[in-house]
């Protein structure tokens, strides 16, 4: 089991075939975050830093309960605290655990030019391989969730690995392990989807959250991290969770039609010039052959 889950199905910047692509049927893993039962205790933040041996940096106080304004290269898991006033005037205190979403169609991987710097395992985990990273930061541009962060010292990019090292040994990610309320779940995508829908239904029918729903955005092919939200119609209130995330269209245009067009034009241009030379040759064989006014003597 342990090695099988690390079979790779997508590789960034890779020429040729991908070893693990379509060779094996495997369950896609998924983390379920139920924002309605999160109490903002930050145990997951601590567990993440501990398990991944991340050097601890200074926290930043910005008048909220948040540890810092954004995730960092060495702080992959951050609970975002937002106060939201509902239409009836009542206040909601929203807490959303923010980290890499492990998109099925990852924008970071699409944008990455370095062979093997970003891989997607057959279990769906998107993982950065810093040894292959060249520090260009294209993944930062490709990500619709503002997740990859550059280490300014080593110029390598880091993010949540979904605890690949634990998952490949059959363990749940560290954040899941630490959650005291059970708002975090880990399992197959199908199971988590099912559990999330049940919880959303419960919220709609019994808890006066008529817009409760599951966040699993189709624009990026679905994600390996899904949320249950009190108000799925307005995810932006949860610290700017995009309502319809996509890989930026300029990235798609660049990696799709422009690449195709550019390669055809470059190869066509080389062939064209070569054929032109065969057909017409140099304008004059030797400089000395040229007479006045451009006529050959």
């Amino acid at each position: 089991m342990s090695q099988a889950t690390l079979r790779v199905q997508k590789i960034s910047g890779h020429a040729g075939s991908v070893p693990g692509e379509d060779t094996q049927r495997e369950f896609t893993v998924c983390k379920l975050i139920d924002t309605t039962t999160c109490i903002g205790c930050k145990a997951c933040e601590v567990a993440c830093v501990e398990w991944n041996d991340l050097p601890f940096g200074e926290t930043v106080f910005d008048n909220t309960y948040q540890t810092m304004p954004q995730t960092r290269w060495n702080y992959w898991n951050l609970i975002l605290f937002n106060e939201h006033e509902r239409e009836d005037g009542s206040l909601m205190w929203l807490m959303r655990k923010n980290q890499c979403m492990h998109c099925a169609d990852p924008g970071c991987l699409a944008a990455c030019p370095a062979d093997g710097a970003i891989v997607q395992y057959t279990n769906g985990i998107v993982d950065f391989q810093q040894a292959n990273c060249i520090g260009c930061g294209y993944c930062i541009t490709g990500c619709p969730f503002d997740i990859p962060k550059m280490n300014p010292k080593t110029h390598r990019v880091f993010k949540c690995t979904l605890c690949t090292d634990r998952v490949s040994e059959g363990l749940e990610p560290a954040c899941i392990k630490s959650c005291p309320t059970g708002c975090l779940h880990f399992g197959t995508k199908d199971d988590m989807k099912d559990l999330a829908e049940k919880r959303a239904k419960q919220l709609r029918e019994h808890s006066n959250f008529p817009n409760a729903g599951v966040y699993d955005p189709p624009g990026v092919g679905g994600t390996g991290v899904i949320y249950v939200l009190h108000d799925a119609s307005n995810p932006e209130i949860y610290g700017g969770l995009p309502s319809n995330p996509h890989v930026p269209w300029t990235v798609k245009l660049w990696k799709g039609p422009l690449k195709w067009l550019g390669n055809v034009a470059m190869i066509g241009g080389l062939i064209g010039l070569f054929v032109h030379y065969l057909r017409y040759g140099p304008k004059a064989r030797e400089e000395e052959d040229i007479g006045p006014g451009g006529t050959k003597t």
Binding site: A15, I140, N263, K283, E287, I290
Partner: protein, 220 residues
């Protein structure tokens, strides 16, 4: 207006002075490095080019600096040549007859000055591409410092940079073809600086007249 100081013994004329030649080769060297490393980042099939140039991380670090050198040399060309690169009526006529130029019937071409209309197009193409490459390149140099609410700058740059680079590659291929293969004598002129009188009369009769101080037609 004649420039007898540009006439060199043994039937040659100075076409590019040392400053022009040096600028050209600084631009050429930096451009070729940018091309190789840029193509490595463009396609996985060409990634090996960054590997043989010292590894992709090194290429990522040096590419922007080479870009600054390239832009500086293009800017120097702008300072030296921009007045000579103005589009004129003669250039309009040149473009109208470009099919004769591309099929080596140069005797049917309207007379060109120091630079023909195609060379002027190359110059302005490279100049404006260099401006676009610099502007988008600065964003791609430090993407991690572009704040999230200005992310459209990253989205724009990641498209403009390769598009402008592809345009320069087209210009570059034609430039190499003309300079090395099509016009014998052109490559030597940007190394040694001089061309034969025959070359000057054939390709740049207007410029030749200017040098020797004749205002009449190139036929004499």
């Amino acid at each position: 207006m004649s420039h007898p100081e540009q006439i060199i013994p043994h039937g040659h004329i100075l076409r590019y002075n040392l400053r022009e030649r040096l600028t050209h080769w600084v631009a050429a060297a930096s451009y070729m490095y940018l091309l190789a490393t840029g193509l490595a980042f463009w396609s996985p099939w060409l990634f090996w080019m960054a590997v043989i140039l010292g590894g992709a991380p090194v290429s990522r670090i040096l590419h922007p600096w080479a870009g600054l050198i390239f832009f500086a040399s293009v800017w120097m060309m702008y300072v030296m040549w921009a007045p000579q690169m103005k589009h004129t009526d003669a250039d309009r006529k040149w473009w109208a007859a470009v099919r004769y130029y591309s099929t080596n019937q140069d005797d049917k071409m309207p007379p060109a000055g120091r630079y023909n209309a195609g060379q002027k197009f190359l110059f302005w193409g490279f100049f404006w591409s260099a401006v676009a490459l610099l502007a988008s390149g600065v964003v791609l140099w430090f993407p991690e410092y572009i704040p999230w609410n200005l992310r459209f700058l990253r989205y724009l740059s990641i498209l403009i940079h390769p598009a402008a680079a592809l345009f320069t590659i087209g210009l570059f291929m034609i430039h190499l073809y003309m300079g090395i293969f099509a016009e014998r004598g052109a490559f030597g002129s940007v190394i040694r600086g001089d061309v034969s009188i025959a070359f000057a009369k054939r390709y740049h009769p207007g410029w030749y007249d200017e040098i020797v101080g004749e205002s009449s037609s190139p036929r004499k």
